[in-house]
């Protein structure tokens, strides 16, 4: 009973393309499953409805097949490519003919020439000794020029150093003589002015700080007085509230007591009936 045909088996059954054993299995399953039967019926109904589409009548037109096209099909991409290459080659040949292009390959060289080629000019060749002597001569002249230049720059540098040394020493000498010329009196006067100025600055500082301290202290006292006043008022309020609570409690107790007393009295006044 665990067998359940897949859609492929169902559709093959619907079109009668299942062999004996498989068909029996599907039939057994269908016999036991109402849903599967209904599904198959629905598919069958779709087939029936779609089967109403009829073929359209049509007459075959005459078909002319040109066998030559099999060998010379210009729409073939291979043939088109081959033709394009051939056309390019022909074009190249024509242009080459018109411009007189000559291509020669000899040994390791490939020559492409336009028109008639000109003979190569003979150039005088140099041997190793000649080249060596030329190089030596050039090196000697370069060395001489370098040495001369170096000498010139060294002289210029020395002259520059000497000049700057002379200038600096004269400045230092001037400063030393100026400092030595200042007298002892002038120094003491300068020191006394410095002291007086310092004294004045310290006095001003003390004065300013004492005033600030005084103001701060006064402010502190005022704040403290305010705080105390506030604290007292709060305490009074709390006390008042407590007293009120006490008063209320007292009243409540009194009322309860009165009620208890009233109930006791009323109970006591009822006569006791005895058997």
């Amino acid at each position: 009973m665990s067998y359940k045909p897949d859609e492929g088996a169902l559709i093959a059954y619907l079109y009668g393309e299942l062999d004996g054993a498989a068909r029996e299995k599907v039939e057994r399953y269908l016999a036991g499953s109402e849903d599967a039967r209904r599904e198959l019926e629905a598919l069958k109904a779709v087939r029936d409805v779609m089967g109403l589409v009829r073929d359209k009548e049509v007459i075959a037109p005459p078909l002319v097949i040109d066998n030559r096209t099999r060998f010379l099909n210009f729409s073939s991409p291979v043939l088109r490519t081959a033709l394009a290459i051939a056309a390019s080659l022909v074009l190249l040949m024509v242009v080459g003919k018109l411009t007189g292009v000559q291509v020669t390959a000899s040994g390791n060289e490939l020559k492409l020439t336009f028109g008639t080629p000109r003979p190569a000019q003979e150039t005088p060749s140099l041997d190793v000794m000649d080249v060596q002597s030329i190089v030596d001569a050039r090196l000697a002249s370069n060395n001489a020029a370098l040495q001369e230049e170096w000498k010139k720059s060294q002289e210029a540098f020395n002259a520059n150093v000497r000049e700057s040394l002379e200038k600096n020493s004269s400045q230092i000498d001037r400063l030393v003589t100026k400092a030595a010329a200042a007298s002892e009196e002038q120094i003491s006067a300068y020191v006394s002015t410095l002291q007086a100025e310092n004294l004045r600055m310290i006095k001003d500082y003390y004065k300013m700080t004492s005033e600030d301290q005084k103001e701060q202290l006064e402010q502190l006292l005022v704040d403290f007085a305010k705080y105390l006043q506030q604290q007292r008022e709060d305490d009074l309020l709390i006390l008042q509230a407590r007293l009120n609570d006490l008063q209320q409690n007292t009243d409540m107790y009194r009322q309860e007591t009165e009620q208890i007393l009233a109930s006791i009295i009323s109970n006591a006044s009822v006569p006791v009936i005895r058997n």
Binding site: E17, M50, D55, K56, A60, L63
Partner: protein, 228 residues
């Protein structure tokens, strides 16, 4: 109303034997090995006969695939040109049917791709808008029928064709080959170059899709019998 229904059923039943006879005759001729062999050897007369025999089938296959006469004609033409050229190279003549549908299917796909790529609309379709929307009684095949009934039949055929066009292209190809061309699942698998199970699965889901579409349009056997 009941009598009317019975009458209609009787009429539709009467048509079936004629159709079956035609199909049987066609099938018998289509599988004529001698004709195929002669055509494969390059006998142009045999090839012409083969084209005559199969033209209607391939045209209708294309028509149901595209719901378009011109495209169906195009596909049929190309298929038979290809058939005549390549028949000599067909190794197993027993597989001729699947081979022919494979060619037709390939051309259908090619045309579908071309149709998808081109955004132009044929001029005659723009010009003949009115005639497209008008009843198609003038193109009806049978002129001996009652025109009213013929009109209703065409209308139903249009609806069913539209339903067929509404399903997925892969499923549509399988449904047409199975339901209208009568190919075996094995042959369809060969045509489409896929497994037999995939073919059956596509057939199942194709029928399911058609069922949903027909339910939406409220079309079933009873309503069609009533209409006819």
């Amino acid at each position: 109303m009941g009598i009317f229904k019975v009458e209609n059923r009787a009429r539709t039943r009467d048509l079936r034997p004629i159709m079956h006879a035609e199909i049987l005759q066609d099938i018998a001729m289509m599988h004529s090995d001698a004709l195929l062999e002669r055509a494969a050897q390059g006998d142009q007369k045999a090839q012409g006969k083969l084209v005559q025999l199969w033209y209607k089938r391939i045209y209708n296959f294309g028509f149901k695939f595209f719901l378009d006469h011109d495209l169906a004609m195009e596909v049929a033409q190309k298929t038979f040109i290809s058939m005549c050229r390549n028949l000599p190279s067909l190794q197993d003549l027993g597989k001729f049917k699947a081979w022919l549908y494979k060619i037709a299917m390939n051309y259908c796909r090619e045309e579908a791709r071309r149709k998808q790529n081109s955004r132009s609309t044929p001029f005659d379709r723009v010009w003949n808008l009115e005639s497209e929307q008008s009843p198609r009684w003038e193109t009806s095949a049978s002129r001996i029928d009652d025109p009213d009934r013929q009109y209703q039949r065409n209308e139903i055929a249009d609806i069913l064709h539209t339903a067929l066009m509404a399903i997925n292209e892969d499923q549509r190809a399988v449904v047409i080959m199975k339901e209208y061309e009568g190919l075996k699942f094995r042959e369809i698998a060969e045509v489409l170059n896929i497994s037999e199970n995939t073919v059956k699965s596509r057939m199942y889901y194709g029928l399911e899709s058609l069922k949903r579409i027909l339910e939406k349009k409220n079309i079933n056997k009873d309503t069609i019998n009533y209409e006819l």
